[in-house]
């Protein structure tokens, strides 16, 4: 039974992720004062991509890239408790397991894109990994105070500890929550930090040689990625008690990210990394100092 439950769970999160992407396109359209596609448009896109007759691959690694990417993000999903609804496995997600599993997705994609020997893809991967130098450390330093405050490294215990409203991480540590928001913008690869998938400069970055079903898998990867990354932030800073609150929280955070994404231009890569070592780093350090003083 649990295997079926396991697939349904994954399917549910993927479809919700795709709906989130549909909402994102609809909201950006309305910001640009046009109607925009229906909410379920990404689902149609994915169906179309999987229906493509035959597509091109440049080698075994090239075709396995999206497969590893989707594996990485799906396994991160299983170790991330959605609200109090814990995933299948009995041991509750641990912060470091989730953070390191988050990297498997981009690594798989990077290997696939590299195999295609297209300069656009490799430049994009160099940018994506260098950007990781920027936001990953900020995200970690921003979430650290909450874990330290509740004396645990397991996300599940942090959620349980943040029961009632005043106990929310975001209320206790507003500074580090702000830093985490900056980091989330980069982690999701949204507009100010859309350097890796910059369609105008490097022809949609790593996906330049992917078509048909590979692109479909990458769309699924992006969809689940949205849920996982915003979910991580919501779990740590808001501690939703049940799964409905979890999805409401992720939607609100994702909404903020889309609004920023719709209006912002794009950084150059060294500007972005420099930016991350400026204000967000300062905010993160302030957050940690707050923990030391407050405790």
């Amino acid at each position: 039974m649990s295997i079926l439950y396991f697939f349904l769970y994954l399917l549910l999160v993927t479809v919700i992720g795709l709906l989130y992407m549909g909402v994102a396109r609809k909201v950006t359209a309305h910001i640009q004062n046009r109607y925009g596609p229906p909410i379920y448009q990404p689902i149609l896109d994915v169906l179309k991509l999987f229906g493509k007759r035959h597509t091109v691959t440049h080698g075994v690694m090239h075709s396995l890239g999206p497969v590893i990417a989707y594996t990485g993000i799906a396994s991160t999903l299983l170790f991330l408790p959605l609200g109090n609804h814990t995933p299948l496995l009995h041991f509750k997600g641990d912060l470091f397991v989730v953070l390191y599993l988050l990297v498997v997705g981009p690594l798989g994609m990077a290997l696939g894109a590299g195999e295609s020997s297209n300069p656009n893809a490799t430049i994009a991967m160099a940018r994506a990994l260098s950007l990781m130098l920027g936001y990953e450390i900020i995200f970690f330093m921003a979430t650290l105070p909450v874990f330290y405050h509740y004396h645990t490294a397991s996300i599940y215990k942090v959620i349980q500890a943040q029961g009632v409203f005043p106990h929310w991480g975001a209320i206790i540590f507003p500074i580090s929550f702000l830093a985490a928001l900056f980091a989330l913008q980069g982690m999701m690869g949204e507009k100010p930090f859309e350097i890796a998938i910059a369609p105008h400069e490097i022809a949609s970055g790593p996906m330049v040689e992917y078509g048909g079903k590979y692109l479909g898998l990458l769309q699924l990867w992006h969809a689940v990625g949205i849920i996982v990354e915003t979910g991580l932030l919501v779990d740590i800073f808001f501690g939703p008690q049940n799964i409905i609150w979890f999805f409401i929280g992720t939607f609100i955070v994702f909404y903020v990210v889309i609004l920023v994404n719709a209006v912002m231009p794009r950084f150059r890569i060294e500007q972005a990394v420099r930016f991350y070592w400026g204000i967000p780093l300062l905010l993160a350090i302030l957050g940690i100092l707050q923990v030391y003083i407050w405790r």
Partner: protein, 171 residues
């Protein structure tokens, strides 16, 4: 198949590759004035990801080489839209030495839109027409390219050195 045809018709990804003078008509269709995205048509950066190729306006031999290469890099099923009279019979460049006269000879075309650069309304019309054709499963021009591949290649070789320009793939 019905589901795929429906989803293909509802989400056409257009390749951002405008050749002739029709490129000027695309921005208003894409942005808020006419907004083609509500039909699920968005411009994509590379031929690998797109399934709709627009030949907007006259096509010189130089651009034809690139267009054929882009067309072959697109995954099937793929659709082609010819804009304006230049793609039908060469238009006002009927006697020019470097503009091709009939697009039909070189790549299969699904829909022609006449008018020396059709306005965005006409383009949106064409998109809707293409949508119906795909939903009904009639837009099979791409099959013609694969079936009589040699005929197309012969036509192309009359105009440019196909040997040098074709992609040698183990098909």
């Amino acid at each position: 198949m019905k589901l795929f045809n429906f989803s293909q018709s509802r989400s056409l990804w257009m390749m951002h590759f405008c050749t002739g003078c029709g490129a000027m008509e695309m921005p208003p269709t894409m942005t808020s004035r006419f907004d083609m995205e509500r039909f699920g048509i968005i411009p994509m950066a590379t031929p690998r990801q797109s399934d709709l190729l627009l030949i907007t306006g006259y096509l010189t031999i130089k651009t034809l080489k690139r267009v054929v290469r882009a067309y072959e890099q697109m995954p099937t099923p793929r659709y082609v839209l010819g804009f304006g009279s230049c793609t039908i019979n060469g238009g006002m460049y009927w006697d020019s030495y470097n503009v091709i006269k009939k697009l039909e000879l070189y790549i299969p075309v699904d829909i022609y839109i006449n008018g020396c650069m059709p306005r965005p309304e006409a383009i949106i019309d064409a998109f809707l027409k293409l949508r119906e054709m795909i939903a009904k499963g009639e837009a099979n021009a791409w099959k013609k390219y694969i079936e009589n591949y040699e005929w197309y290649k012969k036509n192309q070789s009359e105009v440019f050195d196909v040997e040098k320009w074709s992609i040698k793939n183990e098909k």
